[in-house]
């Protein structure tokens, strides 16, 4: 994995890290935070590892409705965050916890997930549903939607000389509920056959905003915007949820692999979307559909 590495550099600040990563001296530097196995494909060519774990990017914050997660914050930090436990009935906490075990979560960061392009994480599906914006710092700073990293047409890429410093999202206000549904070979399987996140904001009987994201068994997580539009501004009942969920299967293009066939994934997609919407409604309204 590390055949060509000659130097291990401990960055003392973000500026220091970016200077080292941007140096054009014949070396191939890559940023690391500790989850080396997630970025193994990037490490093969690397000659210098720039450790950014001591740079101040390991925060998890909720200020008002603004959520911010530093690129070097570990998944376990998200799991134990009291603020996230209270936000959206613990959606992000559950999504982070769905990944493997505490030992793995102690070293796994969103920077490494995005840099290694490991797209199966339930947390990515949840962050996609929240319209998360990623602040990427390289020679220049850019703020890009997380969705653009998963876009088929013009995919954003995190290069070797860049760091995903911050993942930010606005939490919905008012009567909002969220749900993560996943099917996996075992409860502890880090990789879901399919995961679905639904977020509903209710105004009276009407759904004022719906967000549905699907991931795990797809090349990258996707939003089901067509279904979101069907739900928006309509009174929500079991019949509408049933009819909308039934369409979910045709909107995804899953893979076939050792965990399940594409056909199976399509079938359970509708089931999981229905369950996610029902649970999100329950959290938002305090009663079932």
């Amino acid at each position: 994995m590390f055949a060509n590495v000659q130097e291990y550099y401990h960055a003392t600040s973000l500026r220091d890290a970016l200077k080292k990563l941007g140096k054009n001296d014949g070396q191939i530097p890559v940023p690391v935070t500790g989850a080396f196995h997630l970025i193994s494909s990037k490490l093969r060519a690397a000659t210098c590892l720039v450790d950014i774990s001591a740079v101040d990017l390991n925060y998890v914050k909720v200020e008002g409705r603004k959520l911010s997660i530093g690129g070097a914050a570990t998944f376990q930090q998200i799991v134990v965050s009291k603020e996230l436990n209270e936000a959206l009935n613990g959606l992000l906490l559950k999504a982070a916890q769905a990944y493997s075990t505490r030992i793995q979560r102690n070293t796994t960061t969103l920077q490494d997930v995005l840099f290694g392009y490991a797209t199966f994480f339930d947390l990515l599906t949840a962050l996609l549903a929240l319209d998360t914006q990623v602040t990427v710092q390289g020679k220049q700073k850019r703020i890009v939607p997380l969705a653009s990293f998963f876009s088929k047409e013009s995919r954003a890429i995190l290069s070797n000389s860049e760091i995903a410093v911050d993942f930010s999202a606005k939490l919905p206000s008012g009567n909002a509920g969220a749900s993560l549904q996943r099917v996996a070979l075992t409860d502890g399987d880090a990789v879901a056959i399919l995961n679905v996140v639904a977020i509903l904001k209710m105004t009276g009987k009407k759904c004022s905003e719906a967000r549905i994201a699907v991931g795990g068994g797809l090349p990258a997580p996707v939003r089901l915007t067509a279904l979101e539009q069907e739900l928006a501004a309509k009174p929500l009942d079991a019949a509408l949820v049933e009819s909308v969920s039934a369409k979910a299967a045709d909107l995804i293009h899953p893979v076939s692999d050792i965990r399940g066939s594409a056909q199976y994934r399509k079938q359970i997609c509708s089931v999981l979307v229905r369950r996610a919407l029902a649970e999100a409604y329950q959290f938002a309204k305090g009663r079932s559909l």
Binding site: F2, A3, V5, Q6, E7, Y8, H10, V32, G34, F36, H37, L49, D51, S53, Q76, S100, T101, R102, I103, Q104, N106, T107, G188
Partner: protein, 160 residues
């Protein structure tokens, strides 16, 4: 490069290549309680505490640990040989079983009890889930952790 770390409260300096894993260094320096398992970050047998958090030492580079604190199973007992309550409970409850995964289990349990002295059965199961026991017996290790937690609470209560 020179690696400076504190292992089991002792400051140490070792020569180290940038590509050495923490497991390589610990085994080379005589910390044989750190076992070699899958070498792929999956089984948790090689777990150690890095700044108080469990990590799979087989997939963490030693250089990443520069100036950090490491605890291995060798550091749990007192200098006079008195066992840590977790070690004692694993023996008393028969939780040690074949012994190969025991260091990983005990260190995972220590991380849990350091943060949560009153764990539930579910908390213990979750905390130990990163260590795969080839004896496939988790009941006794879980009982051992709960026993140790209880004894540590009693000891703390007696002191105060």
């Amino acid at each position: 490069m020179n690696l400076h770390v504190t292992i089991n409260n002792d400051p140490k300096d070792f020569p180290c290549q940038p590509t050495d894993t923490l497991l390589d260094i610990l085994r080379r320096e005589g910390y044989s309680g750190v076992k070699v398992g899958c070498s792929n970050g999956d089984c948790g047998i090689c777990a150690v505490l890095l700044n108080g958090r469990t990590v799979n030492s087989c997939v963490v580079l030693a250089a990443h640990c520069q100036n950090k604190t490491i605890e291995t199973i060798e550091g749990l007992s007192a200098k006079d040989g008195t066992l840590h309550p977790l070690q004692k409970a694993f023996l008393d409850e028969g939780g040690a079983q074949c012994g190969f995964c025991t260091p990983g289990l005990i260190l995972s349990a220590k991380e849990l009890l350091d943060a949560n002295p009153t764990p539930t059965d579910a908390d213990v199961r979750e905390a130990l889930s990163g260590v795969i026991c080839r004896c496939t017996g988790y009941v006794k290790p879980i009982a051992a952790v709960l026993t140790a937690a209880s004894e540590m609470r009693n000891a703390a209560g007696a002191k105060s």
